[in-house]
Symmetry: C3
Subunit: 356 residues, 3 copies
């Protein structure tokens, strides 16, 4: 049986990737690369027809390609309908195993501090220096990287993996096949206070966090626990690095949130939304399904119609930008002046029709 270390024959890859093979079935492929970077023994892909010119000089042993372009390839082909999607599947075949930092010893590392009151599947791996609180349930195939802390009453579904240095507070549930990257903090207190006229009085955050299946959470991302009810992340949601999700948000199935975006408290994001990087969404909004928000936009109102939305301004040389920005501070008055001009011009022209 072949592994990523020894590689795969093209015949094996065709079978694993459900592709039509054009070329030598016994050719051995030991890695994956770009069209430009690939050398002998490597597999590449044409994911975007803009790169079709690169095929000519491509030195890969084989390419993943669609039928329309297969004739242009100077090497063996794995012909599929959606080469980019097949590349995604192929990449998983060449990924490193789980033993990247910690798995000198399988099972529960002797340095881990694990509460006796837990329920762990027999193949669970817990890395060095982890701390696992009471009443934690870890299902089949769960792997917890070095130095993670898991609070009381957490529950990780089958196949879920925490990379090193993830912190889960208590009452966090993650579904199956989840991936949480290092530095992520899930279940910290939502930011809730009542002001008594002198001081901000803390509102204890009594809810938890509930995350669906097939969710990925990026490095340094924070997902706060709910105030009274849970913060909820749906199935198949993908969250990039340094995203902030405040208490009681609900993120619908299949949505994607790019790096450094933030959802303020109690906002509901629909299904299959795509939130670009650096987006800020204020609290208590409702964003319907299939909304795309472009990078660095500020969402200050609910969105009821699917579509693509933006805010912000375009980059200019600072000298030009400054002039326009100063003018923007008087745009309301400029608009009124234009209206007045229209009125006066109409009068002057003896125009009966109402201007504008």
């Amino acid at each position: 049986m072949n592994t990523a270390d020894s590689g795969y024959t093209l015949a094996e890859l065709a079978r694993l990737l459900d592709a039509e093979l054009r070329g030598d079935p016994d050719l051995l492929v030991t890695g994956l690369s770009t069209l430009k970077g690939a050398g002998g023994g490597q597999l590449s892909f044409l994911g975007n027809h803009r790169y079709v010119q690169q095929l000519k000089t491509c030195r890969a042993s084989a390419v993943i390609i669609d039928a329309r372009h297969a004739g242009d390839a100077p090497c063996a082909c794995l012909v599929v309908d959606d080469p980019y999607l097949t590349y995604a599947r192929a990449s998983q075949l060449f990924a490193r195993g789980p033993d990247t930092a910690t798995a000198d010893a399988p099972g529960i590392h002797p340095t881990a501090v694990v509460s006796g009151q837990g329920e762990f599947a027999d193949d669970v791996e817990i890395g060095p220096n982890c701390v696992i609180g009471p009443d934690v349930r870890l299902e089949q195939g769960v792997r917890v990287g070095a130095g993670c802390t898991i609070g009381a009453d957490c529950h990780l579904g089958a196949g879920t993996r925490l990379y090193p240095a993830v912190t889960l507070y208590h009452d966090v549930r993650i579904g199956q096949r989840g991936i949480v990257h290092s530095g992520a903090v899930i279940g910290a207190d939502g930011f809730g206070f009542a002001f008594d006229g002198r001081k901000s009085i803390k509102i204890a955050q009594l809810g938890g966090v509930r995350i669906g299946d097939d969710v990925e959470v990026g490095a340094g991302t924070t997902i706060d626990r709910g105030a009274l009810e849970d913060t909820v992340i749906g199935d198949g949601v993908k969250i990039d690095n340094q995203v902030q999700i405040a208490h009681n948000c609900r993120v619908g199935d299949g949505s994607v949130i790019c790096g450094c975006s933030a959802l303020a408290g109690s906002t509901e994001l629909g299904q299959y939304c795509v939130i670009g990087g650096g987006v800020g969404i204020i609290g208590h909004l409702k964003i319907t399904d299939r909304v795309t928000v472009s990078a660095m936009s500020f969402v200050s109102r609910s969105i009821t119609e699917p579509g693509v939305y933006s805010s912000g301004t375009l980059l200019q040389e600072t000298r030009e930008w400054k002039k326009n920005s100063l003018r923007l501070q008087h745009l309301d008055s400029l608009s009124k002046r234009v209206k007045e001009l229209e009125y006066r011009l109409a009068q002057l022209a003896g125009d009966d029709s109402d201007p504008q």
Copy 2:
């Protein structure tokens, strides 16, 4: 004696929350919930009169409510002046104890690596795998979660709690009753360099960080040490997740900074300011007391008057946004054209008065 686990009678709650009880004093309350979500045995609250309709179908055993609406409640009432504030106080009664992740053993966990030269109150709790440098002083009731690192010469006031995976560099002082959430880093080097024409030469950051009493610091937040003098956070300041506070900033008492905001170096924020989420404030500014800045704003000048401030643009469908954004790049010229129009129109009309 009742605990959160066994609940509180309404009579106890009325006494603890300083409320007027209308209903059965012996009724047992075991949890807190929203008006919509509450069931039998639970306490809820009417914090906003917009939700008064929800009272009708509310199944809570009791509600925290003001006198004006108490008549509308279908259940027992804890009548107070400010129900939201009382809810905050009540929430603390129902919060979980400190043993959420680590406190299998009270005191100093045997896996913690603690320098001999420290001064710890007798009831201090230090979680597994903590590392405590020399000359650290921890006062009464300090709790340090699993995997925290505390540098030399740090000082935590009575009742302060670090959640797991907090990092304090050396010379960080935190007052009493502080809360620091996981992933926060306090005291890392400020970002200071002098450019020698070829290279950025590091300016060693010799100051520390000084944080007042009753301060909360969110998950993943970073507060840098000062270059020569300390970075200073006042009493009662509440800082949300993923906030960045650069070297030598000073944040006044009672101010609130929402998630993902950033203060660049040496900026002074006044007292009782509210900085919305995702706000950026450039360095060396002075923001007076009681300034509110709305979410995602960019503060590029000092603010001398209390008030509410904003920048940024509103969300539109991208198609519309793009048209307007392109026009914005010529707003200065548009303004000049309007002025020219006004001038020509005045001439044409034989107007003596100077236009606009």
Copy 3:
């Protein structure tokens, strides 16, 4: 031999800093401070002539100053061409040693979990609770703070320091004299998925991260590994806190990236660029050398000319801001109305020339 603890004589400082001494060579300096804050025994500096008035009341024992202002100093002088740069060098003389949190024991702390298959220089320091994967190479003088995790096949050049709680995934290379602050995560998976119509299929991230010499990485910063090729950070790059650098970015030598900025995937930043705080740069762009982007700008296009660039809007009182922002949503139509006015006015005036 003098250390920072016992201080330096002015003669020693003059020699170490390559300065001309005016004053008592035996005068002992024990610390560094601002012009305003300095007291006896302290060294200060005039880094900006705006502060020249502060010299009069300065109580420092000596100042770093240029020749033009040395006559105004009421104390001994270290005369140099660039006082700010010399202050940077002086600050390093007064910095604390490395033993701030963890170095109770030099060498490899007994609580560290270190794979047998590594190659470590003899003076390497590894703090408590570190976890070091297989085939890691640590060169002369490398110091790894408490609780760091280093994945397989990482390589840290001579003199590089990781502060506590840094996480490196596998295949991360950092050059010489690097500094990585706490909470940074280097080498986490880039955010890559192919959508199959129902689900986001993960693209395994097979590249690594390659970081040059003299690079500083701020607290909580994340630098993702490449999809197929490496993410590359050049020599002398300085990266502040909470910066996000996505997969396959390339940052040129000498560039500086301020706090909370983000580069989306595959973007190339040139040499000696300065990216202000909170800037967002979308993916697949190419920014040429010596570009400065002001804070909170959004870069949505490649930049081919060196210069200073901005986007965003200026802060106003929210009441004014709202009026202008609403108008901005109709700027395209306003522009058209102005054009129409110009046309009609020209007609009315019997003007032959085409307006604008």
